[in-house]
Subunit: 292 residues, 4 copies
Amino acid sequence: MKLGFIGLGQMGVGMAANLVKAGHAVTVYNRSAAKAGPLVALGADAAATIADACRGDAVITMLADDPALDHASFDENGIVASLAPGALHISCSTISVALSGRLDDAHRACGQHFVSAPVFGRPDAAAAAKLAVAAAGCAEALDMARPVFDAIGQKTFLFGDHAPAANLVKLCGNFLIANVIEALGEAVALAGKGGVDRHAFVDLLTSTLFSAPVYRTYGGLIADRKFEPAGFAATLGLKDVRLALAAAETLEVPMPIASLLRDRFLALLAQGGAQLDWSAISTLALKDSGQS
Amino acid sequence: MKLGFIGLGQMGVGMAANLVKAGHAVTVYNRSAAKAGPLVALGADAAATIADACRGDAVITMLADDPALDHASFDENGIVASLAPGALHISCSTISVALSGRLDDAHRACGQHFVSAPVFGRPDAAAAAKLAVAAAGCAEALDMARPVFDAIGQKTFLFGDHAPAANLVKLCGNFLIANVIEALGEAVALAGKGGVDRHAFVDLLTSTLFSAPVYRTYGGLIADRKFEPAGFAATLGLKDVRLALAAAETLEVPMPIASLLRDRFLALLAQGGAQLDWSAISTLALKDSGQS
Amino acid sequence: MKLGFIGLGQMGVGMAANLVKAGHAVTVYNRSAAKAGPLVALGADAAATIADACRGDAVITMLADDPALDHASFDENGIVASLAPGALHISCSTISVALSGRLDDAHRACGQHFVSAPVFGRPDAAAAAKLAVAAAGCAEALDMARPVFDAIGQKTFLFGDHAPAANLVKLCGNFLIANVIEALGEAVALAGKGGVDRHAFVDLLTSTLFSAPVYRTYGGLIADRKFEPAGFAATLGLKDVRLALAAAETLEVPMPIASLLRDRFLALLAQGGAQLDWSAISTLALKDSGQS
Amino acid sequence: MKLGFIGLGQMGVGMAANLVKAGHAVTVYNRSAAKAGPLVALGADAAATIADACRGDAVITMLADDPALDHASFDENGIVASLAPGALHISCSTISVALSGRLDDAHRACGQHFVSAPVFGRPDAAAAAKLAVAAAGCAEALDMARPVFDAIGQKTFLFGDHAPAANLVKLCGNFLIANVIEALGEAVALAGKGGVDRHAFVDLLTSTLFSAPVYRTYGGLIADRKFEPAGFAATLGLKDVRLALAAAETLEVPMPIASLLRDRFLALLAQGGAQLDWSAISTLALKDSGQS
C-alpha cells in the first residue's frame, strides 16, 4: 500500500519502521523533521508537509494528544482537506471519544474513510511489531486497514462499526492500568508497614493470580520505588484519566476509582512529580500512612 | 509426619486428602463429622474431638473465620491446651492479623510452635495440590512445616519470622482481587454504555496486559453477569475487606480503594445480594449508570 | 447611573427591578424579549440588541452559563465590542474561573473595566435585594460598581483585585452547599434505617450546631423527600461541581468530596433525575442502603 | 431527686454542678477521686465506689468511651448489679449503638430503667447548662429523666422508645461536624491556592448560608490553622467516625464521606497528629495540593 505516517514519537517511529519493513511505500511526516532520518535510511520518503503525507491510499496518525491530532486533521491543508475521496485515515493515537467522533463525521462528509485503531503496548512492543490493536470503523474501512494492522501488531481486536468505540476501549484499558498502580500502592503501603518485604510480596502476586505483564511491570517499579526515567509521564497519566472521565461524564457513568485516580495524579503534580513515571502515584499511599 | 487436620470445608477436604496421599498419617476433625467420611476412605483417621486431632507432630487448621479458629484454639480442650510442647500449629485460614498475633503469643507461651500459612487458590486448586502458600513463622517452625507445604501447594512464599505478616499478605491479596472486580465493573459500565461489546472488551484485556487468572475468571463472570452459584460469597468478600481495613486501622494506613470496596459490599448486601458471588459488586457501577 | 442589564432569568429579573427601584436608568436585554415586559412597566427601557444595552456607564450580566456569557461578551457586536472605553462590565453569573480570566484580559485590552461579582441567594433573595455579593476587581472598578452592589444585595464581600477570585469563591460556596446535601443524605440514610424519625433528626440539627439556612432549607427538603419542582436543577448542580473541579484541576488541588459529588450527580442524571432539584442526590444514599 | 453521677471529665463536671445547683441530691464518683473536690464544695457527696453512686433514684454516666462505660456498668459491683429495681440509668456518653443496646437489655432484665441521652455541646455549654439533649427510652423512663434533662440542657429532643436510636443520632451529628471540617478544608485548599484570602472566605460563608456555630467555630480554626490545644482530639474524632461506620455496617448503609473521614483521621494520626484538634484533618487537603 501507499501509506502516509504522521507522528514519529517513541511509538510512531517503530510502527512506521515496521510498515516499511512489511513492504509498504511509506511517506513519513513529523513536526520536527529530524526524526524522519532513520526511517528514510530504511526506505521511507520524508514529506515536507502534512498534505504531502496524504497522497496515498491511507494515512496513519500517531500523535501525542487531542490538540495535536485536531490541528493535523482540521487545519487548512490538513488531513481532512488533503486526503483523496475513498482514502483512509487510521488514527492510532490515544485521544478523546469526542474528537474521534468529530473525525468520523468529517471524513464521512468528505467521502473518506476513518478507522480508529489505538494500540496497546510500550515503545519496545511498537518496535517489535507486537502491539495489540483495538480497531473500530465501517467494515470496508477495516478491510482496507488490515495490512497496516498486520504490520504493526500481533493481534487486532475489532469493536464494531462505530469508530469512537475503539477509543473508549483504549481509555478503559489505561484506566485499568492506572487502577493497578493505585491498588498495588495501597497494598504495598499496608503490607510494608506491617513488616512484609515488598519484593517478596510482589513476587507472590505475580507468580499466582496476578501473573500478568501489568503487575510484573508496575509491581517491580513500585517495589523498587524507581520512577525515573518515566516510561509514561504522570502528566500523560492525568490526561488519559481525564479523557476517561470526560467520556464517562458524557455517557453519565459514575466511576469512583477513576475519580480517585484523578485526585492522585493532581496530588502528584502538585507535589512536584509531573516528570515522574505515572506509577509514582503509588507513593501517595505511602506518604498518607507516614512512610516517606 | 503424624498430623491433625481441623476444618473440612471446600478447601480443607482437598488439602487433607493431599496430605494423606503424600503419605502422612492424618487425623481429621470437622464439627459436622460426616465430612470426614471420604477422607477416612482414603486412609485418614477421624477424631472425635479437637484434642484428639492434636496428638501428633503438627495440626493444620483451615476454618471459616476468626470466631471458628478462636474457639478451636482457645476453648477448654482446644488446640493450645492440647498440643504437646514442641508441636506445631499451622494456620491456613484467612483470619485477622490480630488473631494471628494472639495465637503466636499463646503457642510460644506454651512452648509450642506456630506458623501462619494462608493459601491462595480456589477449591479446585486445593484438590489439585496447586495452592500457593504464604508462610511466616520462626525458621525452625517453617522447617517443620515444609513437608506440609509441599503436599498441599505448588509453591511456598516465605514472609519472615513474624507469623501475622503472612496473614497480612493474604488480606492484601484478597483486597487486590476485590479491586480487580470493582475496576472491571467500572470499566465495563463505561465501555458497555458506549456501545462496546463487553465480551470482546474482556477478551482484549486478557489477551494482552491483563493476561492473568484473576482477570480471566472475573472478567468472564462480569461479562456473563453470572453471579450464582457463588464461588465466594459476597458476605465473605465483605469479611475479608473488613479484616484488611482493621489491619489498616491498627497500622494507620488509609486505603481509599478498600474503603470504597467496603461500601460496595454493604450496598450489595443491603440490596439483597448476600448470597451472590462477590463479583456481583460489579453490578453496582452498572446500576449507578442507569444500566439495569 | 446609566446601566444595562443582560439576562432576565429568575435571578436577573429581581436584580434588574431593584436597580430600577434604586433610581438607576436601566436598559434591559433578554434573548427572549417577553421577559422584559414587567421591567419596562417598572420604568426600564428594553434593548433590541446586546449592543444597545452597552451604551451606559456599566452593563451587568446575569446569564445561565459559560457559553451564554461567552457569546454575549465575545460575539460580533457583543459586550466587549460595544462597551465604551472606561465603562464597566459587572458579571454576576456563576461561571468558570477560566472564562472570568478571559473577560478580565479582554476588557483590560479594550480600556474597559471588569468586575466579577457572583451572588449568593435564591430568586426570593434576589427579588428582596438581599443577595450576598462576592466581588473582585481593581479598586477603581469596585468603586464604580458599589451603587449596583448596594441596590441588589445586603452585603458585599471583597476578594481583592484579581476578578476570577470572586468566581472561585462562588464555586467553593456552591461546592459547600452540595456537600451539605450529600452529608445530610448519608446521615439520614443511616439514622432513618436505624429507626430515627428524620424530621426530628433535622429539627435537632437545625436547632443546635447546624442552625444555618442551608441546613434548614435542604434538611427540610430531604426529610420531606420533596424534589419537585426544582429550585435549582440537578443539571445545574453538576455544572457547578464540574466548574469547581475544573478550577481544582488547573490549580492542582485534589478534592475528594467534589469528586464524589460529581459521581452522585452523574448517577442521578443516569437514573432519570435531571429535572429534579439538586438535593435529590440525597436519595442515592437511601437507594444504596436498600431504602427505596 | 436523689442522683448519682459517674464520670467527672470536662463535660461531666459541669453537668454534675448544674444538677447540684438545681437542688438535686447528687453523689458523684470519678475514678481519680480528686476531681470530686469542687463538686463537694458545691454541696455534692463523694462516693468511694460506683456502687455507692447507685443508691438513688437515678444514676447518670458521662464516661469517655465504650470500654469505660462497659466496665462501670457490667463489672461486679457495677451499675447493673447495684441499681435498685425501678431505678434509672441515664447514659450521656457518646458510645456505640451496640453497647447502648446491651445496656438496654441488661437493665430491662433487672427491672431497671435505661435512657440513652447523649448531649451536644462543648464543655462551656455543659457548664452553662446549655447542652442539647438527644434522648430515647421508654416513656416512663423519659418522664423520670425529665428533671435531669432540664437541669443540664436548654432543650431536649426525643427519639422514641428505643434507647440506641439516641446514640445513632449523636454519632450522625458528630459525623456531620467532621464532614464540615473536611469540606471546609477542601474549599479553603482550592480558594486559597487561587489567591482568595481564607479569612475573608470564611467571613462570607458564616455571614450568609452557613451562619451556624459549627462553621464559625471550625471555619475560624481552619483559617487560623490553629489546632492546639485540642478542643476535641483527633483520636476522639477517629473513634466517633469508627462508631458511626460500625453502626452503618450493622445496618448495611454505605457512607462514602464517612469512609473518607476515617481515611483522613488515619492519615493525620500516621503523620503524627494524634494530639491535635480533630479539625487538623483540614490540613491534609492543603498538603495534598502542595501547600504546606
